[in-house]
C-alpha cells in the first residue's frame, strides 16, 4: 500500500512535546469512539452515555469527590510506575504491591498495640516497606539472574491476592464480623480523616501530591534519576560507566513498590477501615496505573492529570452500572482500548505526513 503521491510520510527525528500531547489526545479520542460502538451495541447512544459519565464524575459533589478519591491510589501507583518504567523495569505488579502494603498496614492497625498517635505514621512506613520489599524481589531476580520481570511481577500479584484471601478467611478473620470474610474494624486511631463526609482521605492525597513532586525531582534533578535513566536507556553504557544495574533496578522498584504500598495503606485506612477481599481493596488500581503511567509518558508530574482522567473513567463505571444498567466491566474494555490506541500511537509519533512538493 502506498500513500497518494501528493502526500509524503517522513520520519521524525524527535517528536516535540506538542506532538506527543496531540497524539496522546488523539489516541484517547479514538478509544472513546471505539468504546462508543459498545454502547451502541447495548442500545445506548454513546453521546448520552458519555454525557452521563461526565455528569456522574463532575455533575454533583458526590461524583466529584468519588472521582478524586479514586485518583489517589492511581496517582501513587502511577508515579511509582513511571520510575520503574524509566529504569526499563516492566512492573506489572503494582496491584500486588498495593495489596501487600494494605495487608502490612492492617497488621499494624490491629495487632501492633502501638499508642494511638504513632499508629498511622507507622502504618504508612510499614506499608511502604512491605510494598518496596514485594517490588524488590522481582527486581533482584531480574538484575542477578535475568528472570523476566513481567512474569515475576505479574505472578507475585496472585501470591499477594491469595495471602489476603487466606488472612481474611483464616487467621485474621474478624470475630466481630458475623462470619463475613473481613478483619475486624480498625481502631479509631488507625483511621484516616476525610474531608467532611466525603471519602477523600486527604492525608494520603497530600502525601501523594508531595511524593509526585519529589519523584519528579528525583528523576530530573538528582544523580539517581540520571542513573535510572542511563540504566533504562542503555544498560551497556551503564555498565561501562560503572553504574550498578542491580542497585539501580532495586532502587527503582523500592520506590515503585513502596508508593503502591502507600496506596494500599490509604485504601484500608481511609476507605474500608478493615482488610477485606482483594478485589474490594483495590478494584484493579495497580493495573490501571500502568496505563496512567504510560499515558503520562513516564513523567511523574503528568500523572496528576492522567490519574484524574482514569479516575473519571472508573467513576464512569459506577454510572454505567447504576444509571445505564450496563455491566461495570465495560470500564475494563474502555481501559484496554485506551492502552491499545496509546501504544499504537507510539509509531505515529515517529512519522509525519506532509504535502509533497511537485516533482521536478
Amino acid at each position: 500500500m502506498r500513500a497518494p503521491s501528493f502526500l509524503r510520510v517522513e520520519r521524525r527525528t524527535a517528536p516535540s512535546p506538542r506532538v506527543v500531547f496531540g497524539v496522546s489526545l488523539l489516541a484517547i479520542l479514538v478509544a472513546l469512539i471505539a468504546a462508543g460502538i459498545f454502547f451502541q451495541v447495548y442500545g445506548v447512544s454513546p453521546i448520552r452515555a458519555y454525557g452521563d459519565i461526565l455528569r456522574g464524575a463532575f455533575g454533583s459533589r458526590l461524583g466529584l469527590t468519588e472521582t478524586v478519591r479514586r485518583a489517589i491510589p492511581l496517582l501513587l501507583c502511577g508515579v511509582g510506575l513511571t520510575i520503574a518504567f524509566r529504569a526499563l523495569f516492566w512492573n506489572i505488579g503494582a496491584e500486588g504491591q498495593l495489596l501487600i502494603g494494605a495487608t502490612a498496614a492492617t497488621g499494624i492497625a490491629l495487632f501492633s498495640g502501638l499508642p494511638g498517635p504513632l499508629l498511622l505514621p507507622v502504618m504508612f512506613l510499614v506499608g511502604f516497606a512491605a510494598g518496596a520489599l514485594w517490588g524488590s524481589i522481582p527486581a533482584a531476580l531480574k538484575a542477578k539472574l535475568g528472570i523476566n520481570d513481567v512474569i515475576t511481577t505479574l505472578m507475585m500479584n496472585y501470591i499477594a491476592i491469595y495471602i489476603v484471601e487466606w488472612l481474611i478467611h483464616g487467621p485474621w478473620k474478624g470475630p466481630t464480623m458475623r462470619g463475613f470474610a473481613y478483619t475486624d474494624r480498625f481502631p479509631a486511631a488507625a483511621i484516616l480523616p476525610t474531608i467532611g463526609i466525603t471519602r477523600i482521605h486527604w492525608p494520603t492525597l497530600l502525601l501523594g501530591l508531595a511524593l509526585t513532586v519529589l519523584a519528579f525531582v528525583l528523576v530530573k534533578r538528582t544523580r539517581w534519576g540520571f542513573e535510572i535513566r542511563v540504566v533504562g536507556e542503555n544498560p551497556h553504557a551503564a555498565r561501562f560507566a560503572g553504574i550498578s544495574h542491580f542497585k539501580i533496578t532495586v532502587l527503582a522498584m523500592v520506590v515503585s513498590g513502596g508508593l503502591a504500598g502507600l496506596a494500599g495503606v490509604g485504601e484500608v485506612a481511609g476507605i474500608h477501615h478493615m482488610l477485606l477481599g482483594p478485589t474490594h481493596v483495590s478494584m484493579g488500581y495497580g493495573y490501571t496505573a500502568i496505563i496512567v503511567a504510560w499515558l503520562a509518558r513516564r513523567n511523574p508530574l503528568a500523572v496528576i492529570v492522567t490519574s484524574l482522567l482514569f479516575a473519571i473513567i472508573m467513576r464512569g463505571g459506577d454510572v454505567i452500572k447504576v444509571t445505564l444498567g450496563l455491566p461495570f466491566q465495560l470500564v475494563n474494555v474502555f481501559n484496554g482500548l485506551i492502552l491499545f490506541f496509546l501504544i499504537g500511537s507510539e509509531i505515529l509519533m515517529r512519522y509525519r505526513i506532509r504535502l509533497a512538493p511537485r516533482r521536478a
Binding site: 544523580r223 542503555n234 551497556h236 560503572g242
Partner: protein, 507 residues
C-alpha cells in the same frame, strides 16, 4: 569522465515508471555501451539533510565499481534506493536501459540485484542453509527441500570458493564466514549485480584479501559489483572504476588506473589530507601499568587471555595487534573492569585493576574508548550534554548534594563541543542524531577530560572517515605527548605502525 554513451533520455512522464517492472515503451535508453544500471537525477531528502542531490551513476557490466565517500556522503542511501529499501524523492533507475521502479528489496532481487549489508541480516540461531532459503518459496507447499538447497549451496561454494558448512549455526561462525553466507544468499537468489556496503569494515586483513579474491572470481564470471567504501587502499586494490561522492553529490567518476590515493582523498574530503602525522620523539616516563600473567575467559567461557604480561610507560603508545578474536576485546575489558579475570594482575600505580570495579578504575584516571562506541560509549536517547558527563556526573561540579547541576554540565558541554569540534545544533541534541565521527569525538572528549594517566583506545578510528580518523589520531598523539600511557588496540596495521612506539602481538 562523462561520456555520452550512457546518456539516457531524461524527463520521462511519470506513468512510465509508475508500473513495476520494465514497461518497454518509449522509455527505453540508448544502450550503446554496456551499462547495466543507470541512475539519473536521484534525489533523497531526510529531515534536515539532502542525502542524495540529483545523483547520476552508471554501472558497467562486469566491473567492480567503487562508491567512495566519507561517512554521510550518501553512498549507503543511494544503494538503498537501488535496492528498493528507500523510495527516491525524484529521479529514475534504468536497468539494461529500461526504466524500473524498485518498490522493495524483493523487486530488486527479482531484477537480479543483491545487497550485502554492512550489518548482516542473518538469524544467529538458525543454520547457514536455513538462513539462505529464508523467505524463498521453493519446496512443495510448506515444506523445505534441504537436499536440493544443500546441492545448490555446494555448487555456489565450489564455483566461487565460498566455503562454509551449510549445517553450522550462524552464531558459531566468524564474521568473515557470516559475510560469505550473505554473499551466498545473494548468489542463491541468482543475483548478477551485487552491492557490497562497506564489506571490509568487519574483516581482518587476511579476510579482506580473501574477500577481494572472491569478488574477482565473481566478476570474471560475469557479475557486476558495486563496492561501497571510504577506504582508499581498497579502492586502489579492488576496483575498475570509482565514483566519488561528497555531501550527497557526485564529485567525479574515474577509472581506477588513472588516479591515485592522494587525488581520491582530495576529491572525497574536498581538501588536501595529511597522511603523515607529526609525531614527537618518544619521551618515556615512569611505568604506568604492569600486567603480569593475566588470564581471562571470553563470553563463551573459553580462555581468551592466557598469561598476558607487559608494561606500559607514561608518554608512549603501545599498540596491540593480532587477528580479531585473539583476546584484544577481553584484554581491554579486563583492564577497564568490565570483565572478571581468572588469574594474574594488572597494577596501575599501586592499585590492582583486576580487583577494582569499573567505577573505581575510572576514578583512578583510566580512560576507556570502547570498541562499540554507540552501544557502550553513549546513551543514544540522552543529550550530548548528559552523555558528556556519563562518567563524572557523581562528582562536583556536576553533582552537589546528589543534585545534578545542569549549568555546570552545560558549560562542560560547550567547552567539549568546541575543543573536540563535535558538530551538533546544541548540547540538548540526542546523541543518536550525531554522525559516527561526532559520536567518537564525544566519547573522546568525555574520556580524555581530566588528564587520564592510562588510556585504553579500542579500535578508535574504526568506521570513521578520513577527516575524523586524522583528528582522532592527533588527539591520541597529543595525549601521549602530555604523558599518558596509551594502549592502542587496532586491526588497522597502518594505524598501529604510524602511531605506536611499541607493538604487542596477541596470538
Amino acid at each position: 569522465m562523462t561520456d555520452s554513451r550512457c546518456d539516457p533520455k531524461i524527463g520521462l512522464p511519470d506513468d512510465v515508471t509508475s508500473e513495476q517492472g520494465c514497461t518497454g515503451n518509449g522509455g527505453t535508453l540508448d544502450t550503446a555501451a554496456d551499462c547495466v544500471i543507470q541512475l539519473r537525477g536521484i534525489v533523497k531528502r531526510f529531515p534536515g539533510v539532502i542525502a542524495n542531490d540529483s545523483i547520476d551513476l552508471d554501472v558497467e557490466r562486469g566491473e567492480i565499481l567503487c562508491l567512495l565517500g566519507e561517512n554521510g556522503a550518501g553512498k549507503t542511501t543511494l544503494m538503498r534506493i537501488l535496492y528498493g529499501l528507500y523510495q527516491p524523492d525524484a529521479g529514475e533507475i534504468f536497468l539494461n536501459g529500461r526504466p524500473i521502479r524498485m518498490s522493495s528489496p524483493r523487486a530488486a532481487l527479482g531484477h537480479g540485484i543483491g545487497m550485502v549489508h554492512q550489518h548482516f541480516r542473518l538469524v544467529p540461531t538458525l543454520s547457514v542453509e536455513e538462513n539462505i532459503v529464508l523467505g524463498l518459496h521453493e519446496g512443495r507447499g510448506p515444506f523445505l527441500n534441504p537436499r536440493k538447497t544443500r546441492k545448490k549451496i555446494a555448487k555456489i561454494a565450489e564455483d566461487y570458493g565460498l566455503r562454509v558448512d551449510p549445517r553450522a549455526k550462524i552464531w558459531q561462525l566468524s564474521v568473515g564466514q557470516q559475510q560469505r553466507v550473505e554473499i551466498i544468499k545473494a548468489l542463491y537468489r541468482e543475483a548478477d549485480i551485487l552491492i557490497m556496503d562497506e564489506p571490509t569494515s568487519v574483516l581482518t586483513p587476511q579476510e579482506v584479501d580473501q574477500l577481494f579474491a572472491t569478488l574477482r572470481t565473481l566478476v570474471d564470471d560475469g557479475l557486476t559489483i558495486i563496492f561501497i567504501t571510504h577506504k582508499l587502499d581498497e579502492v586502489m586494490a579492488v576496483s575498475d572504476r570509482v565514483t566519488v561522492l561528497r555531501k550527497g553529490k557526485v564529485v567525479a567518476t574515474v577509472p581506477t588506473a588513472q588516479t591515485d590515493k592522494r587525488a581520491l582523498a582530495r576529491m572525497m574530503v574536498g581538501r588536501e589530507v595529511v597522511f603523515r602525522l607529526e609525531k614527537m620523539p618518544l619521551d618515556r616516563g615512569e611505568r604506568v601499568l604492569e600486567v603480569r600473567d593475566l588470564h581471562a575467559l571470553n563470553d563463551r567461557g573459553v580462555p581468551a587471555l592466557r598469561g598476558v604480561s607487559f608494561d606500559l610507560y607514561a608518554g608512549e603508545i603501545l599498540g596491540v595487534a593480532g587477528v580479531s578474536g585473539n583476546g584484544q576485546q577481553e584484554l581491554s575489558e579486563a583492564l577497564a573492569g568490565l570483565r572478571r579475570t581468572s588469574k594474574g594482575s594488572a597494577v596501575l600505580l599501586a592499585s590492582d585493576l583486576t580487583r577494582c570495579s569499573a567505577r573505581e578504575i575510572a576514578d583512578l584516571g583510566v580512560a576507556h574508548v570502547p570498541t562499540e562506541r554507540i552501544r557502550m560509549g553513549t546513551v543514544p536517547n540522552m543529550s550530548v550534554r548528559e552523555n558528556l558527563i556519563l562518567k563524572s556526573y557523581r562528582r562536583p561540579p556536576f553533582c552537589r548534594w546528589s543534585f545534578l547541576d545542569q549549568r555546570a554540565a552545560h558549560l562542560n558541554a560547550c567547552r567539549a563541543m568546541e575543543e573536540y569540534a563535535i558538530m551538533a545544533p546544541d548540547d540538548r541534541t540526542a546523541a543518536k542524531l550525531l554522525s559516527g565521527g561526532n559520536i567518537q569525538r564525544l566519547v573522546l572528549a568525555r574520556e580524555l577530560c581530566g588528564e587520564p594517566r592510562f588510556v585504553i583506545a579500542a579500535h578508535p578510528t574504526y568506521g570513521l572517515d578520513v577527516g575524523a580518523t586524522e583528528q582522532v589520531r592527533q588527539v591520541l598523539l597529543a595525549q601521549r605527548d602530555r604523558g599518558a600511557g596509551i594502549l592502542l588496540i587496532s586491526e588497522d596495521l597502518d594505524e598501529l605502525l604510524t602511531l605506536s612506539d611499541r607493538i604487542l602481538v596477541l596470538f
